[in-house]
Symmetry: C2
Subunit: 86 residues, 2 copies
Amino acid sequence: MPRIVVDVMPKPEILDPQGKAIAGALPRIGLTGFAGVRQGKRFELTVDGDVTPEVLEQARHAATTLLSNPVIEDVTRVEVIEEDEQ
Amino acid sequence: MPRIVVDVMPKPEILDPQGKAIAGALPRIGLTGFAGVRQGKRFELTVDGDVTPEVLEQARHAATTLLSNPVIEDVTRVEVIEEDEQ
């Protein structure tokens, strides 16, 4: 069945404590090539049937109302992915 | 500065209670086009300098050791993204 991916990231101006914690841990395990980390969420919605424009609109609606908090997060992607694609 | 995206998703055989909760909530707000939802994580690592093969290898190492739990999660993507790309 086709899937729609929704990516949600903290807004750039919002502090991201999880990302900060990871950025602080990287050098402790010897990984020094990075200047910062942000942690967001990734959702895969499995579509029941074909991906119609209506279903895509439903996914966009879900992204902004249920899957993200628009005060602190941005929806950065709502996209159909192929079966073998990530 | 260039960024590397790491996507981490729960393994298919692992129960995903957050995804299940979202899948249950969708029809309650009138969104009936979906058969299931899985929730994972998305990380953006900002690279300090250029993306060398060494830095990419560091990102892969971080993905499997720090950013995911290999018992219950799969790293589904480690990829450089362009400045305007998500």
